[in-house]
Amino acid sequence: MGDLQVKKQPKKYDAIIVGSGAGGGMAAYVLANAGLKVCLIEAGPMFDPKTDSNQLRSPWESPRRGAGTRFRPFGDFDGCYWGWEVDGEPYTQTGNKGTTAWEWWRARMLGGRTNHWGRISLRFGPKDFKRKSIDGLGDDWPIGYEDIKPFYDKTDRLLGVFGTNEGLENDPDGIFLPPPKPRLHELMLKKAGATVGVPIIPSRLSILTKVTKDLGPGRNQCFFCAQCGRSCKVYGDFSSSSCLVIPAVSTGNVDLVTNAMAREVLTDKEGLATGVSYVHKDDMQEYQVFGRTVILAASACESARLLLNSKSSRHPNGLANGSDAVGRYLHDSTGADMGGIIPQLMDRRRYNEDGVGGMHVYAPWWLDNRKLDFPRGYHIEFGGGFGMPLYGFQWDIQKLNGKIPIKGKTKEAGGYGVSLKEDYRVLFGSHVGMAGRGEAIARRENYCEIDPNVVDKYGIPVLRFNTSHSEYEIKQAKHMKQTFAEILHAMGAVMTWGADDGAHNNWGLHAPGNIIHEAGTVRMGNDPKSAPLNKWSQAHECKNLFCVDGGPFVSQADKNITWTILALSMRTSEYIVDQLKKQNI
């Protein structure tokens, strides 16, 4: 390494933003368009879906035929660099009795994980901000739906989301583009849902079925290739890279530094944030950048890690952590899944049913928890159809082709040859799967902390996780499984996976972190003794420090959190513009 020294950037910015995903991208967009000077630090390389997406590649263009690798766990064409493991950047577990290892997904690229996410864009409802008042568990947010609604509206207009206004109490209406018509299996799901009492409605995804004048620059209409997971070359869906960061940079107000791994937040004698230090992955040199404000958007756990690694005499327990809540209340969506073959869908006429990237219908939470043995709800996501054949295509057909009559004939399981080729054809497009995504209770004893013994390849101390499920989540998973079985039975399905789960394995409940909705580690609250941030996502103990990723969430509802990250980040960013103008920070 030879001549190691810290390079200090002379320019003083209005804001240093760490992370370019949904939260950081929105902050950069709002601040840059308000004329503020921003330095945006991203730990991964540049990525522009227009040039870098693998959209419309055929399966044979991947030598591994789309199989996942540790670099792209969701497959070779997927739009996310890295995932459960990042070379040279370990994380650890306490291994305490009763804990289940946290699975931590980390994207390293411009736009973060928004390049490949499911585009499920759900508003939290009025009840989701006041859960403690309803069931006595967790905490209420210091804000309510009415505080965030204007920002949901603006996010809908700026980024685009399709859906329908259903007038549901806790699944608020929005400013929606028209949804795509349901696919064949989705029509069958709706029918089956109605017979078992599960209302199924059009999904709400940030994909442009229409281009409106309110949208940000460079956006184009979806052309229905079903490949949002690869990121979209025509900017037909929402990614932070395409829809927020790249337009923000084009204002001329943003200096974007990629491959820059933040080390700590710098503070002065008064304990105020002065900037951020980072190691540049290309030259392995140490840098410092300075600004009037620091905005963390590195992901809930990375932002907590940064705060905990930024100790000083004014902040001995980590920056802005007098509450000792930084890293705590870590929670993910719950998840359990099931699938089967629908005999009616076997051997059916072929046509292009790609549609948009993801489901055209879903089931928002439809029951009253007061009548159930678990406190919070879940929504159901659906899959099926003639998907692109990729690695794993009809894997283990020997478990299936002896169970279901093929063209009216019951065959011996397994086999080979002309008869086997017929089986593959007949079964193609006949599978339906479903996944519950629910709300876990945010608990103080679920946390990430700095591992005192381990550093990553940059010498930055790493996170150690301590997470467990409670009976609430396990009972919820059981309910999911019962519901899925009812719906699938109503469709005449032959169960093929997920039906064997039970009490022995917590009803197939996914490990915490596995659903990739990390939240709660830098939560907001009115009391500085119990929460690091105030209702503006501003640190109680460091007024020019903010956090705009999943960190500020007091609870994460039975909704995917991205749309709320965006709306909260927009709200906080407008607050920052206002406060800087008034010279309050």
Binding site: G44, P45, K50, T51, D52, S53, N54, Q55, L56, S58, P59, W60, E61, P63, R64, R65, A67, F71, D76, Y81, D87, M109, P178, P179, P180, K181, P182, L184, K191, P202, Q221, F223, F224, C225, K233, V234, R349, R350, Y351, E353, D354, V356, F386, Y391, F393, Q394, W395, D396, I397, Q398, G402, E412, G414, Y416, G417, V418, K421, Y424, R425, F428
Partner: protein, 223 residues
């Protein structure tokens, strides 16, 4: 709707014409499988630095011996033979895919190498030669002993496990090739305008879109 026409329709009046046209180019190769296969050699697909290095490393090695590759080729063509609709596993270059994937997913290496050896030892004991050198009738007798999990003899269980893996990898290689995609009838991966399930299919299933759906959903014919 004709695919070319639908792409053209979408391109008119959008600034993304360049990007989309570029994106569509690989599609054209669908009609010329040979050149499409060749295009995987350099992997024109997006790679970050670390994964490009990994792929280079994988490609620099050879895993299977020529004898093992010959056995894989025979087995692959028994699993997916040529029929009235499409070609065979070897026509679709499945053995080359299997050579790549076992290097890329090292957990496949021992089950594949060991399974091939298990198969050869069975044949050696029965007929005095390796599987690939057996008569076709002998090969089929051997395959029949391991291809039917529910009726295979218990002492064949290791062979059944190997054949299941071989069947899986063969299907993955075949149905992701140009020949296999055509065989299975996957018509997607192309720009189009989704306007719901075709009418004749709706009728066949006794289904219809509700008035609410017809009113609210995107309909490309209404602009």
């Amino acid at each position: 709707m004709d695919r070319r026409k639908s792409i053209k329709t979408i391109l008119v009046g959008t600034v993304a014409a360049g990007a989309l046209a570029e994106a569509c180019n690989p599609e054209e190769k669908k009609t010329t499988p040979a050149s499409a296969e060749k295009s995987t050699a350099g992997s024109g697909i997006n790679r970050m630095k670390e994964e490009a290095e990994w792929e280079k490393e994988v490609r620099s090695k050879t895993f299977f011996t020529p004898d093992e590759m010959a056995t894989i080729t025979v087995l692959g063509d028994i699993i997916i033979p040529r029929d009235a609709i499409s070609g065979s596993a070897s026509d679709a270059k499945v053995p080359d895919f299997i050579e790549f994937i076992v290097k890329d997913v090292p957990s496949h290496q021992t089950p594949m190498r060991g399974g091939l050896r298990w198969l050869d030892m069975q044949c050696l004991n029965r007929w005095g030669r390796a599987f690939k050198d057996c008569q076709p009738a002998q090969q089929m007798e051997m395959v029949d002993a391991i291809a039917w999990p529910d009726k295979a003899k218990p002492e064949m269980a290791q062979g059944v496990a190997f054949f299941n893996l071989m069947r899986n990898l063969t299907a993955s290689g075949f149905y992701t090739s140009p020949i296999g995609v055509k065989d299975i009838g996957y018509f997607g991966n192309t720009a189009n305008q989704w306007n719901g399930v075709p009418d004749d299919v709706l009728k066949q299933y006794g289904l219809a879109y509700s008035e609410k759906e017809l009113r609210e959903c995107y309909d490309p014919t209404k602009g």
